[in-house]
Structures are given as structure tokens and as C-alpha cells.
């Protein structure tokens, strides 16, 4: 080893705190790290890309005609909803990644560095938002190749993107909480499967509410997934927009109000 590797800096007076600009730069570096991981872990890309495409293809061509009379009509009905489902599943990557960092010791290495305390979490959430945007764009793209047509132009598409990102940002706090509470990353995935699967299938994402048994309809109508799916349908196709969007944002706000404090409490307990 050469002396240069270890030679000390001339004594400097350490700074007292991290500036917000430095915190932001650190957040970007950590987001970069989460995205670079994809290059070394192609499975993640598979999760992000193949799974949504497979869902769209299978549902459209297997169930489409049975549920909506034709696969084209069904695609129109289902694509906005499957975007919501996919966004919810994708939030689990936040908790999964967080838990991996905690159990593997990466988080402690980061915490021993003079960086903004919030940057590791912010970096992860930022990277996951980029991944979300990728998945949404991919779903819309594949849908359009299959014959899906937007009804409200570019503004509608941007609105749908924005709403999906806001909603998934909010729900990623549930994922953060789970990631902080469980002992290993796989348990985050199990949670996602156990909760998100039933939640999205008991909404109007795949089947119109009136085709379900009466007792289930009551739940389907209040299920937040139904509400967000309706809002995205309104934005991408046509139909009522304002009320479903407002309701969706209220749900997002409620989730944030409940889960951010819970997550922060779990965070201080765990580290």
C-alpha cells in the first residue's frame, strides 16, 4: 500500500451540519446507486418490465372476451387499472431495498458517513419513483401497441402519470414501514403478495363492479384501488375526473398522515 492511500488530510475543522444542497446531492448519489443496481441484478428489470407486460397480455387475451365481450374493449377497461395494480406492487421494492440495506449492513455504513440523515431514504424513494415512471410508460406503450387509445391527449396522460406517481409515493410509506418491521427482505415480498393481491383483485381493476356478488360490491366501491383506477380511467380515456382524482388524493394524504409517523417511529427504534 502506498502512503498516499492512508495519508491524513491536513487537520480541518469539521463542519457543523449538512447544507440542504449537499443533502440533495447525496440523495442523487444514493438514487444513482439504486438505479445502477439494476444493471447487476437483471431480475429486478424483469420485475419491472416483464411482469406488467405479462399481466396485460394474459388478462387481455385470456379473460378479455369472457369479461367484456372483446379483448379490445377489455384492454380499454383494464389497462388503467393494471397501471394502479402495478404501481402498488412496485412500491414493495422500496421496503425490500430498505430491508436489504438494513440486514446487510449497508445502512449502517451510510449512517456512519457525514451525510444528511434523510438522504438514504430519500435517495431510495427517488430511485423507486424513476422505476415507477418507467413501468407506467412501459404499460401505456404496450397497451398502445395492442390498440389502446388515449382520449384526453397529452394532458390526460401527464395527469395520469402524476396521479399514479403521487399515489405510489404515498403508499411506498406502507412499504417503508413493512421494510423496517420485518427481519428479512423476502418477508416484504410476502406481505406485498398477501395484501396487494387481494386488494387489487377486489377492486374494479379487472372486473366491473356490477359483475361481482352484492356483498363484495359494497367493498369494491370503497376500495381505494377502485377509486384510483377510476381516476386514471377518467384521465386516460374519458368520463368523470375531478371527483375520483380528489378522492384519490385524499386517500394518498390519509396514507401519508398515518404511515409516515409510524415509519419514522419504527425507524428510530430499529437503528
Amino acid at each position: 500500500m502506498t502512503a498516499t492511500a492512508a495519508a491524513l488530510h491536513p487537520p480541518v475543522v469539521p463542519s457543523r451540519s449538512v447544507s440542504p444542497a449537499a443533502g440533495l446531492r447525496q440523495t442523487l448519489s444514493l438514487a444513482w446507486r439504486s438505479l445502477v443496481q439494476i444493471r447487476h441484478n437483471p431480475m429486478e428489470l424483469l420485475d419491472l418490465s416483464i411482469q406488467p407486460i405479462m399481466f396485460v397480455l394474459l388478462f387481455t387475451y385470456v379473460f378479455g372476451t369472457a369479461i367484456a365481450g372483446s379483448s379490445g374493449d377489455y384492454l380499454k377497461f383494464m389497462l388503467p387499472g393494471i397501471m394502479v395494480q402495478n404501481a402498488l406492487f412496485a412500491t414493495m421494492t422500496t421496503g425490500f431495498g430498505l430491508n436489504t440495506d438494513l440486514t446487510k449492513g449497508v445502512f449502517d455504513r451510510l449512517r456512519s458517513l457525514p451525510i444528511a440523515r434523510w438522504s438514504p431514504l430519500a435517495g431510495r424513494i427517488l430511485a423507486d419513483t424513476v422505476k415507477q415512471a418507467w413501468s407506467i410508460a412501459l404499460l401505456l406503450g404496450i397497451g398502445m401497441v395492442m390498440g389502446f387509445r388515449v382520449g384526453n391527449g397529452v394532458l390526460g396522460v401527464l395527469g395520469a402519470f402524476a396521479l399514479l406517481l403521487v399515489f405510489s409515493l404515498a403508499t411506498s410509506w406502507i412499504s417503508v414501514l413493512v421494510g423496517l418491521l420485518v427481519s428479512e427482505p423476502e418477508k416484504v415480498q410476502i406481505f406485498g403478495f398477501m395484501v396487494i393481491f387481494p386488494l387489487t383483485f377486489t377492486s374494479n381493476v379487472f372486473v366491473p363492479t356490477d359483475k361481482m356478488p352484492g356483498w363484495l360490491q359494497t367493498w369494491v366501491e370503497v376500495n381505494p384501488v377502485t377509486i384510483v383506477a377510476d381516476a386514471v380511467r377518467g384521465l386516460l380515456l374519458s368520463g368523470p375526473v375531478a371527483w375520483p382524482v380528489i378522492q384519490s388524493l385524499l386517500w394518498a394524504a390519509a396514507i401519508v398522515v398515518l404511515f409516515v409517523p409510524l415509519s419514522l417511529r419504527a425507524f428510530t427504534r430499529r437503528v
Binding site: 443496481q37 440486514t103 449502517d108 456512519s112
Partner: protein, 339 residues
């Protein structure tokens, strides 16, 4: 005399477990300080408190003159941390890991890249620089962990069990690196379960048990105090075992330890070996094995505490010889699983 680390009465509890029961430490600048103890002694907890990762329940500590609670951000600018729990990202390459840390420490991109290259070369990792670190061997991984803690050129380095689980060659290599670092003026706080590691590297050793410092001093002083060596005698005829036990107890002035037919006593002064040989010869006992070796941590503990180095299993899963296994990483952090 200036102290790089000063700790007063550190206490940390995890539920019903007391990990630190009032630890005082004083580490002189530019020296290597060894924290020696078995699993669950509180070594890792002490390092985590000093590295600002854990808040103590009571007591205070200053690192590089800064309070670990009040001035945590300043402390973090002075320290480097390498431990089983402070790790690199397995999914990134060696270069990417070091680059990330350089960027987080505020180095411009080109400087962070240059620093990563320089460290990888110094730690003989240039060939593996662009491979994901999950493909690294144990020794390579530790070298990268150490390199990662040096990106910011710390004045103070915490090494938590840096060689646990490494083969002898990798261990020697790591020792060499630590010595070089100390040569450049870095202060090192090292935790270990190996007496010879502390002996090899540390200027001063504190032996910890159940969250307390039970002995402290230069390695030579400790070895004098605890019986630096152990004498083992195994009679060729097991029928002689009783006689051997009584001879050994007498010459060593200590209760022998019996493992099947091998009888071991601490050899505190150099008269024990010749005395034992004379007495065995006079008793006409044929000896199958006679060996003198350095004390193990177990024996040091037996002498210091009167009990064996127990496994409280709160710092790691242990293998048969009482050492932390590599896969004990998860269990190594009770404070998190129980939280």
C-alpha cells in the same frame, strides 16, 4: 497526551440484556487499541456507540474531541468504520461502491473516481474492480470494506472483528494493512475475539466481559497477569491421568483443565515447564504429548474472571470454537431484531 477516544460510563441496554454496563475507555491518538472479548461481551455495541450509530442509555463519549451525541456530524467526518454490520453493497462493483462513498463525502466525480482507483490498487483489487462484490472472496470483501472506510481519509478507524472468518493468509494481509495505516498516524480501535490478534496489533488492550472492562493494559502486562502460556501434558497410559493431574496442579499452582486425557495448566512463569518435566520423569510417567503454547482467550478469561468465555449469543452465532461465524451477521445485531 491527547486522546482520540474517551468514553465515560457508557451504558446500553437492549430489553433485559445489558450490553454495556458502564464502560470507560481512553485511547491515545496514533495508537491501536484492542477491545478483546467473547461473543456478547459488548464490543460491537461499544463500537456502534462510538461510531454514532447507537445512542447510549447513560454515559458520554468523545471521539476526536467531539461528543458522539451532540456533535455526531463532526464525529462522522473524522471516522471510518469497518465491521460485520457496516458493509459495502453486494450488488455494486468494487469501483461503484467506492465511487458512491467518495461522492457522498463530497468529492467531485473525477476525484472520487481517482480515489476509488487508488484504493483498489492499494488493496490489490484492481482486477476485480468491475465485478459485483457478491462474487468476491471473504478476504477480498474485507479488503474492500476496509478500503470503503478509508475513502474519506479518516483520522480514526473502527475495525469491528476485521479478521473473523478469514483464512490465515488473508488475516496476515489485513494485519499488514492495519500496521501501515497506523504508520501514517491513524488511530485504530479494533475489536477481536483472538488474543493473538490483539497481541499482534494493539498497543493497549481492554478485555471486556458482560459489558464491563475487566482488565486493561499493554499486551505484555496482560499476558503476565493472565499467564501468557499454557502447558499441556498427555500421558501415554490413561491410567496415569490421576498422577499427572496432581503433579500439574502442584507445579502450576492452579486447577488443571482436563480434556479427555490431556491435562492443561497455565504456565505463568518459565519454571513451570522444567518442573513439570522433572516431576513427570521422577514419577516414571511416559508422556505422549507435551506442549507449550500461548493462552487462548478462554484461558485468559478463566484467569481473569474465574469463568469461561461464555456465549451469550447476543453478538453472533458461534461455531464450536466459540468464534463468530461469517453467517452470524444477521444474528449479530440483537438490537435490531428485538426492536
Amino acid at each position: 497526551m491527547s486522546y482520540a477516544i474517551q468514553a465515560d460510563g457508557l451504558v446500553k441496554r437492549f430489553g433485559a440484556t445489558t450490553a454495556l454496563a458502564g464502560v470507560d475507555l481512553a485511547v491515545q491518538t496514533g495508537t491501536v487499541f484492542g477491545l478483546l472479548g467473547p461473543n456478547g461481551a459488548g464490543k460491537t455495541t461499544a463500537v456502534r456507540v462510538l461510531a454514532t450509530l447507537l445512542r447510549p442509555d447513560a454515559g458520554s463519549a468523545r471521539v476526536g474531541g467531539y461528543d458522539v451525541l451532540r456533535d455526531a456530524h463532526q464525529v462522522r467526518q473524522l471516522i471510518g468504520l469497518t465491521g460485520q454490520y457496516a458493509s459495502v453493497d453486494e450488488t455494486l462493483t468494487g469501483t461503484e461502491n467506492l465511487l458512491l462513498i467518495g461522492r457522498l463525502l463530497g468529492l467531485p466525480k473525477a476525484a472520487a473516481k481517482a480515489r476509488a482507483r487508488e484504493l483498489l490498487a492499494d488493496f490489490h483489487l484492481s482486477d476485480a474492480a468491475d465485478r459485483a462484490t457478491k462474487t468476491y472472496s471473504g478476504g477480498m470483501r474485507r479488503r474492500l470494506d476496509l478500503a470503503a472506510s478509508l475513502v474519506g481519509r479518516p483520522q480514526l478507524l473502527f475495525l469491528d472483528e476485521p479478521t473473523t472468518g478469514l483464512d490465515p493468509r488473508s488475516r496476515n494481509e489485513l494485519w499488514g494493512i492495519v500496521r501501515e495505516l497506523v504508520g501514517t498516524g491513524v488511530t485504530v480501535l479494533l475489536t477481536t475475539q483472538y488474543l493473538d490478534e490483539a497481541d499482534q496489533l494493539a498497543d493497549e488492550i481492554a478485555v471486556v466481559d458482560h459489558g464491563r472492562v475487566i482488565a486493561q493494559g499493554a499486551p505484555e502486562e496482560l499476558k503476565l497477569k493472565t499467564g501468557g502460556q499454557a502447558l499441556t501434558v498427555r500421558p501415554a497410559d490413561p491410567a496415569d491421568l490421576g498422577t499427572v493431574i496432581s503433579i500439574m496442579a502442584e507445579v502450576a499452582g492452579a486447577e488443571p483443565e482436563i480434556n479427555q486425557t490431556a491435562v492443561t495448566v497455565p504456565a505463568i512463569d518459565d519454571a513451570v515447564l522444567p518442573a513439570a518435566v522433572r516431576r513427570l520423569d521422577r514419577a516414571q510417567i511416559r508422556v505422549a504429548e507435551l506442549s507449550l503454547r500461548g493462552s487462548t482467550l478462554d484461558e485468559v478469561f478463566l484467569t481473569l474472571t474465574g469463568h469461561r468465555a461464555e456465549d451469550d449469543n447476543d453478538e453472533g452465532t458461534s461455531t464450536d470454537d466459540g468464534r463468530v461465524s461469517e453467517n452470524g451477521r444477521h444474528a449479530a445485531r440483537p438490537e435490531r431484531t428485538s426492536a
